[in-house]
Symmetry: C2
DNA sequence: ACCAGTAAGTCCGATAACTGGACGTACAGG
DNA sequence: CCTGTACGTCCAGTTATCGGACTTACTGGT
């Protein structure tokens, strides 16, 4: 019973996907990054069913990715804003977008251009925080850690 | 009819998620990155229903993310391998993992440690390919592009 | 030859999730 | 009073996912 690297693997990718992996969740987050913080806008820009959008926003708020704030009391109006955790999802959005730009544009121009404050069109490179080099899968060695099984 | 920035927004994030956004898809890819290239292994390590795994692998192969290769003809056995497009999903996996490590570990150690070839534990930073600075959402200005609508 | 085991799926009935649209409520503006 | 907008909820129909049993094709032992 010592080879207990649990069988459905415990993994941060899986945990993250439990929150942002449901349909429409990341598109809602994308819209907030693009400045569309209101329910109806998100519905329109993503194409998600209102019902589903409601459910996703609830999950995202509960998970601490978004905050729901009233912006007007008297026509009761709300905004969804990114928390720090939400802002930290930017690399996820960017890398998904980058991949789509690379492999799914079918020769046509990319649907959206991002301009970085340095003045150039944004290209994202995921780098190692220690050495600064771009991260390639073959340069990374994974070591699963034992579950804290109650072995005193 | 000129304000045609299409209503369900055309977007590379959405396009990418159509391929890798279904349940279990990215976990299957994760397993291949971890070296588990066989059907049964992926089922065991992810916990996905066999049925669903079959469907996901078909989609991923059709999309050019994975390749299904026979590794033995006579007990008929197969391996799923990453194509270049698949390898380029590494930043997506890494950034999802990093977020989970940061926000979903509940004080406990991270379930997996990645060691970079530089000798240090991997921390990923998404940087601008032009200036090298870490990318923050507030430093990026998005410009949607007009659909190629058949004007003129 | 027979039995057990493994790999890679397929098949199935039950449950859960998503879908599109109608509807409700609360207000503003004319 | 009537229209319009924002933010949802509700519902019935469709689709997806679930877990487990089953199939096919072998290998290796006894």
């Amino acid at each position: 019973m010592t080879t207990n690297l649990t069988e459905p693997r415990t993994c941060s990718v899986a945990r993250t996907l439990e929150i942002v992996g449901e349909k429409w969740a990341l598109l809602a987050v994308r819209e907030v990054f693009l400045g569309n913080r209101r329910f109806d806008e998100m519905v329109r820009k993503t194409g998600a069913p209102r019902d589903t959008m409601t459910a996703r926003l609830k999950t995202l708020v509960a998970a601490g990715v978004l905050e729901r704030q009233p912006v007007s009391a008297h026509p009761p109006r709300f905004e969804y804003r990114l928390t720090q955790a939400g802002l930290d999802l930017y690399p996820v959005i960017i890398s998904l977008m980058q991949w789509g730009d690379r492999y799914l544009t079918n020769g046509e121009p990319t649907p959206m251009v991002l301009t970085h404050s340095c003045g150039h069109t944004l290209g994202a490179v995921t780098t190692c925080s220690s050495c600064g080099d771009p991260i390639l899968a073959r340069d990374v060695r994974p070591t699963p850690r034992r579950e804290k099984d109650n072995d005193l």
